[in-house]
Amino acid sequence: MLEIENLHAKVEGSEILHGIDLRINAGEVHAIMGPNGSGKSTLAKILAGREGYDVTAGKVLFEGQDLLAMTPEDRARAGVFLGFQYPVEIPGVSNMYFLKTALNEIRKYRGLPELDAMDFLVLAREKMKLVDMDEDLMNRAVNEGFSGGEIKRNEVFQMAVLEPRLAVLDETDSGLDIDALKTVARGINAMRRDDRAMLLITHYQRLLNHVVPDKVHVMIDGQVVRSGGKEFALELEEKGYGWLEETEKARA
């Protein structure tokens, strides 16, 4: 589903990603771990098409298409979803209106009829249950005055409504207490499907206790330095990233 090959990228003149290779098949859940500042969010934003990042080498194929050639909105419409590490507020725009507009744009792109307000509400209510989301939040402005937990729940809820093919979730677990973490994890698990791939970006291993990945990659200083199975995450939890950084330096 997603093939990243030798991806190099610069931001404001300095190279952040130094050749990333990653391959995720449909039905798989991969995790990217790594210390702060290693380039995880940068990779996520490049996949989603955020401007300001210069891809200097490499390519990214999404279901065989050249992802980097597509506009950000077309990537979203084709099924790429990014759960943001820091979602923004949009004052005065209700969450409901925002998401209905988004869903209908995506449906239009896929040749499906648009949903009216009633049909959308029925769908939204069903998906809200997945993450125990309060209906109240639907009528508030997008992310405005939401608590940390509400913001992350809202991201997962949006994913559930938009039903992406590939979901990249950037630190969706950060800032959550253990109950909220479980709720969010339950929502993510409910979204796992044979024809959907997920990339979980996380700083800590604890999310992976609840959403068990097929593969775990460690990113350090703009490179994937080691990959392994689900038990690799536990090893990292125990040893930290330091020893990998050491071996990285030794190799260089």
Binding site: G49, T71, P72, F84, I90, T101, A102, E105, L162
Partner: protein, 481 residues
């Protein structure tokens, strides 16, 4: 520096949708201004002597005045002798019903989305259609008359209700008020007149649709609304003009009078031609609007959505004379390309326990310059007066500007004043968030700006709120950068 071009730069320009010209034979007076021209206008309108006298007094006063220069707008000197002060479509006789109106004119309004024919009329909205210097049709007149409501063109009011006109004309905005008000008083050609009798709640929206068509003419209309004790009316005006390379002057005056317990809601959707992308052409919109809350518990509420005009200079104001009277001003002003707006309000608290609310949302895009200028004045006798003001500015891009000039003058220590202000830039992060959910950059900008203006749109009558939102979207196209 980026993988994709900046979405703020990418959006393409849309044409001004109302820029067409109607081919119709006009009766236009030669350019220039003199007492003779004023006599000619007055004669064409078959006005009673008092009107001519009033116009001449205004003209003589205007000659002694200087054009104001304090506003934060810039334009070359206006040659007042190069303007024609009267232009009217030639009519064989004054149409008695809409069926008799020239089909070319009906087609024009149709194209503007304002059907005038009885069958297609906008439900619940009575329309007075003003084309260049004259009113060409008023809908629902008879139905309103059954309730004693007078809704007609100003010219007709002068003929049919001269006592009412004489009683109220110039009582809120005297011809000495300012340069453009004096000019308007001398040469105004038409406009709307509304009179709501005691205790009547007007059952439909009253609205005037102003259209400038002829070239090299000025438009000087005048609106007068009188709400008698315990009455209510909601009035809306809309405006458009053809695309022309030269600037055209529009200097209107609006006077509102609310007596005891009366309430007037006045909404404007202003979409005069704004000029092109390089700032060529467009309307100079120099307007004086003022309401007098004369009676106790009276209320005047201004809502404006200003998206058009090359230059906007207007300060819809309230004189809060009656005890417990309420003044409101809700404004969205958008300047794109080279548009300039200097707009705001004056709330003058005179009576006891008077209250006013000011909510201003300024949006600047392209090279647009947007100035909020507002005055809140609490006079000595205004015991317990309260004001709340909020001015928010939104910048799209870095070549535009937002400026805020609040003036506050308090002469009574029991008054309560609150003022909030903010300036924000539309964020690339906000746009990207929308795009990541499948919404195009252009739709995202429009959505974010509409969200910013929500509080003001909520004040508009339902039918027009939707229009205003669309208009904002269209006015922003090609803006952002």
């Amino acid at each position: 520096m980026s993988t994709a071009a900046n979405p703020l730069h990418e959006i393409t320009t849309a044409e001004y949708k109302y820029g067409f010209v109607t081919q119709i034979e006009s009766d236009t007076v030669p350019r220039g201004l003199s007492e003779d021209v004023i006599r000619l206008i007055s004669a064409k309108k078959n006005e009673p002597e008092f009107m001519l006298e009033w116009r001449l007094k205004a003209y003589r006063h205007w000659l002694t005045m200087e054009e104001p220069r304090w506003a934060n707008v810039h334009y070359p000197p206006i040659d007042y002798q190069a303007i024609s002060y009267y232009s009217a479509p030639k009519l064989k006789s004054r149409p008695k019903s809409i069926e008799e109106v020239d089909p070319e004119l009906l087609a024009t309004y149709e194209k503007l989305g304002i059907p005038l024919k009885e069958r297609e009329i906008l439900a619940g909205v009575a329309v007075d259609a003003v084309f260049d210097s004259i009113s060409v049709a008023t809908t629902f007149k008879d139905k309103l008359a059954e309730l004693g409501i007078i809704f007609c063109s100003f010219s007709e009011a002068v003929q049919e209700h001269p006592d009412l006109v004489r009683k109220y004309l110039g009582t809120v905005v005297p011809y000495t008020d300012n340069f453009f008000a004096a000019l308007n008083s001398a040469v105004f050609s038409d406009g709307s007149f509304c009179y709501i009798p005691r205790g009547v709640r007007c059952p439909m929206e009253l609205s005037t649709y102003f259209r400038i068509n002829a070239a090299s003419t000025g438009q000087f209309e005048r609106t007068l609304i009188v709400a008698e004790e315990g009455s209510y009316v909601s009035y809306l005006e809309g405006c458009t003009a053809p695309i022309r390379d030269e600037n055209q002057l529009h200097a209107a005056v609006v006077e509102l009078v609310a007596l005891d317990n009366a309430s007037i809601k006045y909404s404007t959707v202003q979409n005069w031609y704004p000029g092109d992308k390089e700032g060529k052409g467009g309307i100079y919109n120099f307007v004086t609007k003022r309401g007098k809350c004369q009676g106790v518990n009276s209320k005047i509420s201004w809502t404006q959505v200003e998206t058009g005009s090359a230059i906007t200079w207007k300060y819809p104001s309230c004189l809060l004379m009656g005890d417990n009277s309420v003044g409101e001003f809700h404004s969205v002003a958008l300047t794109n390309n080279y548009q300039q707006a200097d707009t705001g309000t004056k709330m003058i608290h005179i009576g006891k326990n008077t209250r006013s609310t000011v909510v201003s949302k300024g949006i600047s895009a392209g090279h647009g310059q947007n100035t909020y200028r507002g005055m809140v004045k609490i006079l000595k006798g205004a015991e317990g007066a309260r004001n709340f003001s909020r001015c928010d500015s939104l910048l799209l891009g870095d070549k535009c500007g937002a400026h805020t000039f609040p003036y506050i003058e308090v002469r009574n220590s029991t008054a309560t004043m609150e003022h909030e202000a903010s300036t924000s830039k539309i964020g690339e992060d906000q746009i990207f968030y929308c795009q990541q959910r499948g919404i195009s950059a252009e739709a995202a900008v429009s959505m974010i700006v509409n969200g910013f203006c929500k509080e003001v749109f909520r004040e508009l009558p339902m039918e027009f709120a939707v229009e205003a939102q669309k208009l904002l979207g269209v006015s922003l196209e090609g803006s952002v950068g």
